[in-house]
Symmetry: C2
Subunit: 198 residues, 2 copies
């Protein structure tokens, strides 16, 4: 194969998360068989999204407008700020419809191995946002971070950071997933579910 | 989530082979975090490929030029035509460097269940191509189709179709994969390898 646009496309596709060389080749061939109905629309959608989707300057999520729809919505409860690692976590929580507060997207979690420190996550921005709120005693920060070592150490770090501000900090409950069978749960989850029994 | 370009992008990405909703969301977020270095170049590569990559009118493969580089290459042996199902099969054979003839890409295999008949694969075009060759007794058609039911019935169909033309038809050998351990091979492969022993 010579240096042509198809090779370049396959290389770019193969660099996407979850895709390798083989799946990139398969996708490229699929796209070429549907140039008008899929390939060109996909190129347009990429350009359109790259140009029009912005990061919200308040909560850091992605939306057409800045501030985002959630931050601008007067019906959302500004006294609850749910701290998540990724924009996809916002989407996951929004799909449940169970949360009516606002968000703060960190863009990752603390990770000593990958060299991700507090300044990389913009934790100063979160602190500033909370320092600027008026009724701090009514404010609640919900740490909705992954139940991994990095996620939990990030949660600890944020809880420590917010301690002097006198803001209520809560965490997502750990326990059995709904619909989960006890027999298939790992030891850590069973222990936590037992200890947090209600 | 409202009707915005990001949703549209995720929908298009999710329709690609091997990707679902979750992987499409993950890829979209990855792209948005690398707008300049990956997202826009990917959009350009898609447009560029859609506009410049053509199907070769002789062998049906994809290339920048029509006829393709392989069909135009005077060093390739026109007396050997390797019949494959997909363009990716051409690439797989080309990577080995073991074949110096030309190709014919069917674009699929016969499949009664999916309603794919001989006219869908352009088998008439293959027949025409072979009828137009000058020294038919020197011509060889190598059927390099998958060792599946559909692949093998397609191979049988083509062999039958070419019989009246008096062209030599051969098939890829079946047997043990190189590096394969006997213990891990399926019964069909062992039986075939035994019968075709040399």
């Amino acid at each position: 194969m010579n240096d042509n646009p198809l090779d370049h496309l396959i290389k770019l596709l193969g660099s996407l998360p979850g895709l390798g060389n083989r799946s990139a080749r398969r996708i490229a061939l699929h796209l070429l068989s549907k140039r008008g109905s899929l390939m060109v629309p996909l190129a347009d959608a990429l350009k359109d999204t790259a140009e029009n989707i912005k990061n919200c300057n308040i909560c850091n999520t992605l939306d057409l407008s800045d501030p985002c729809n959630i931050c601008r919505d007067p019906k959302r409860d500004k006294r609850q700020i749910c701290v998540v690692a990724q924009v996809s976590d916002v989407w996951a929580i929004e799909r449940t419809g169970a949360f009516k507060g606002t968000y703060h997207v960190l863009g990752g979690v603390l990770c000593a191995l990958d060299g991700i420190g507090p300044e990389d996550l913009g934790l100063g921005k979160l602190k500033l946002r909370l320092e600027e709120t008026e009724n701090r005693e009514e404010q609640e920060v919900i740490l909705a971070l992954s139940a991994t070592v990095d996620g939990q150490s990030t949660a600890h770090y944020i809880a420590d950071m917010l301690m002097p501000l006198g803001i209520k900090v809560s965490k997502l409950a750990h326990g059995m997933p709904v619909g989960g069978e006890l027999d298939y749960l790992d030891d850590g989850t069973i222990t936590t579910a037992l200890r947090s029994r209600a």
